[in-house]
């Protein structure tokens, strides 16, 4: 079995760190001997390995704090976990949000219901209502229009009114 470049490159770190099984290690080695691209890849990883081995052990070397500090800390009760209060606070926030979500639409609906109730009262209409024309009063007689069903699309209605016209009424002393 011969390795592809992709397979070989995925095993390079294992090859450097000697964690590959012997068969695989042999195959990766054979591929590196023949493939310049993978060999360049291997060289880069080798450089990273050297840098890490050289610098990381010296990372963060500092003088330790005095033992007495730890000794004092050991004889004090451990700090209460902050997560508990944070969790409680988070639950509280969730509760408040849930209440708002439940209550606010109710008030909004109440407002809408009130508006709807006002609009369904019997209104004096004595007009011919068409969508694109201004309303013109033809009579002072009051006609009662029953509220429409909300689901229903209102059709332009013509209210036929018989009796004296507005002009007649106004001109009548």
């Amino acid at each position: 079995m011969t390795l592809s470049c992709h397979q070989c490159q995925s095993h390079i770190v294992g090859y450097i760190q000697r964690t590959l099984p012997p068969d695989m290690r042999r195959e990766v080695g054979a591929h590196l001997d023949t493939c310049q691209v993978c060999y360049a890849h291997y060289q880069e990883h080798l450089q990273v390995e050297r840098d890490l081995q050289h610098y990381v052990p010296r990372l963060g070397v500092r003088t330790s704090p005095a033992f007495i500090n730890v000794w004092r800390a050991m004889h004090q009760p451990l700090r209460p976990r902050q997560t508990t209060s944070q969790v409680t606070m988070r639950y509280g926030m969730v509760l408040v949000t849930a209440i708002c979500i439940l209550v606010v639409p109710f008030f909004i609906n109440r407002h809408h219901l009130a508006a709807a109730a006002a609009s369904t009262q019997m209104v004096p209409v004595s007009a011919r209502i068409t969508p694109n024309q201004p309303i013109t009063l033809t009579s002072t007689r009051v006609a009662h229009v029953m509220p429409l069903d909300v689901q229903q699309t209102p059709e332009p209605q013509t209210v036929m009114v018989t009796g004296p016209s507005l002009d007649d009424v106004i001109s009548t002393p």
Partner: protein, 195 residues
């Protein structure tokens, strides 16, 4: 407490309530735990806090340590790593980034040129490590900074051994791509100076 005492003897003395034994144990283990915390958290003050917290916890719960399951060092590392994770889970680690350098120890025998080159290289490595995710950085610090085997790493990081191996491999891949432009630049600079 004498220097020839083994770790087991010291632990026994600690369990018997000997304060000097605790001090000896601390002197032995504190530098490596501090280095671990400092490498992972990349902040000196927080590393000290986490280290002290870890030792206080370990000393208080010393009777829970089971030498047949893991070495004392591994047990201590597990405690310290868990506390480091708590710290950066709370989001505190983000503000560390880019604030303070890591104070890498310089060798006294370095020439000024070598020291300058080393400082530059350290800066590059440190910056590259900062770009890794916390899990990958933990793997690098445990593997290269403390020489743990993959099995020990798996115990400390609380994951399967294969996961520990793949974290090191991923960290290697990422570091290679991060360090590649830097090394090319350094090489160009070097060639330019020689010409």
């Amino acid at each position: 407490v004498t220097e020839n005492q083994t770790m087991d003897d010291i632990l026994q003395a600690c369990l018997a309530g000997d304060q000097t034994a605790y001090a000896t144990l601390y002197e032995w283990c504190a530098p490596m735990v501090l280095r671990l915390c400092n490498g992972i958290l990349m902040n000196a003050e927080d590393a000290e806090d986490v280290m002290q917290e870890s030792f206080a916890y370990a000393f208080k719960n010393l009777q829970r340590y089971d030498s047949s399951r893991a070495s004392f060092k591994t047990w201590l590392y597990t405690i310290a790593l868990s506390r480091c994770r708590n710290l950066y889970k709370r989001g505190h680690w983000r503000h560390f980034m880019g604030l303070i350098g890591l104070d890498l120890m310089a060798s006294a025998q370095e020439t000024p040129e070598a020291r300058y080159a080393n400082l530059h290289a350290r800066g590059v490595i440190e910056a590259a490590l900062r770009q890794l995710s916390p899990r990958l950085r933990e793997a690098v610090i445990l593997r290269y900074g403390h020489g743990l085997t993959f099995r020990e790493m798996a115990e400390v990081m609380d994951c399967p051994q294969k996961t520990a191996e793949s974290r090191v491999r991923l960290a290697h891949e990422q570091l290679r791509s991060i360090l590649k432009p830097a090394s090319a630049f350094l090489l160009e600079e070097l060639i330019g100076n020689e010409i």
